[in-house]
Amino acid sequence: MEIEDDRILAAEYALRLLEGDEERAARVRVLTDRGFASEVAYWQEQFASMADDVAEVAPSGAARKALMNRLFPDAATNSPFSLAFWKGLAGAATAAAALFAFLAFVPADLTGPPPLFVSEISSDDQSLRVLAVIDAAAHTVRITRTSGDAATGRSLELWGIPADGQPPVSFGVLPGTETAEFIVPDALLGKAVGLTLAISDEPEGGSPTGQPTGAVLALGPVTAL
């Protein structure tokens, strides 16, 4: 009977039927009683299949931006400074130097707008033309495709080529839509100055190797707005 009671208590707890002191007491059991925790996990696993029927709802772009800013405030607030930092010190990235750069540039940059960079990525004959705006504070790249499309069964992939001679880094595959937003990969953070954006022709779904494998169709230098 005791085992049975525990099993039901575990289900009640997993369902969140309990409130107040009852819930707190059950939580203590989860944290201290391995058998009980196991029974709670069993129910959680079972109950979760009820979520199969829950419709997906795409979150707004603003929600992701707010989340990223919240989790990585250093990246968001430091990026204007780290750009200046990289420009001036060319790679001496120690925590102390970064802090110094941060302190040194705070007064000037706090008043200014967040840094934006733009790029026109186009082929020589303009058959493929994509405009990109990089928001260094939000770590996003928004693109608008004004002409061109992937060949049948192929994909277009967006790359960033850093000025420091490091290999290209993928932002991802361009969707079929006219506009899209990408997140700036970690490897390119703080490297907007001197960056070149490129679009290559890749197998459907993108390069299998992590590096461009097909023809580079369009290039565009990144400039500060």
Binding site: E4, R7, I8, A11, E12, Y13, L15, R16, L17, L18, E19, R27, V30, L31, T32, D33, R34, G35, A37, S38, E39, V40, A41, Y42, Q44, E45, Q46, F47, A48, S49, M50, A51, V54, A55, E56, V57, A58, P59, S60, A63, R64, A66, L67, M68, R70, L71, F72, I183, P185, D186
Partner: protein
């Protein structure tokens, strides 16, 4: 994405990889927002709960392996609990917010055997729910999907709290017996 893909992403998030976090968000945020929205019935509140969920995921992904849950169950459980905490906080007293998801992150997770049993049985509940009388099935589903407590269910079905409690405990017992078969 397969569960193995999601699990691999969670493992990389646990190592602090922001790109993996971004990919995980891309792959799962719509589902988790759906779960939060179902509980909260308010788009702005649901997006906030979804964000809080991902903050917890970022901070606790390195402890995922110890809890024995499948990756989507782990994410959905955090999302659901976060949404319910928000719902109940809004309704009444403030609760400790970070302690409220400790169960899915606790080191006192299931034994390996327990986890294996949970995984092999996953989905059996769908079949077993159908063996319950319709109103009881609705009560269990309402509790899970809408985040109803005993008190909420009692007022929804217009029965005394203890009646609802007895009712649901019997249903859970039948479910457990059915699932063990």
């Amino acid at each position: 994405m397969t569960p193995a893909d999601i699990e691999a992403l969670i493992a990389r998030v646990g190592l602090g990889e922001r790109q993996a976090f971004s990919d995980l968000y891309q792959a799962t945020s719509a589902k988790l927002l759906g779960v939060c929205l179902r509980v909260l019935n308010d788009r702005a509140a649901a997006e906030d709960a979804m964000q809080d969920t991902f903050v917890k995921v970022w901070k606790n992904a390195d402890r995922y392996a110890s809890n024995g849950l499948s990756p989507m169950t782990w994410l959905i459980t955090i999302a659901r609990n976060t949404a319910i905490d928000r719902l109940r906080t809004a309704k009444s007293r403030p609760t400790s917010d970070l302690a409220d998801y400790s169960e899915v992150l606790s080191s006192g997770g299931p034994s390996p055997e327990g986890a294996a049993i949970a995984a092999s049985d996953a989905g059996r509940i769908t079949k077993c729910l159908d063996t319950l009388p319709v109103d009881r099935k609705d009560a269990v589903k309402g509790a899970y999907l809408d985040g109803d407590s005993y008190a909420d269910l009692a007022s929804r079905f217009d029965v005394p709290l203890n009646t609802m409690r007895t009712w649901l405990r019997r249903s859970l017992l039948s479910l457990r017996e059915c699932m063990a078969q």
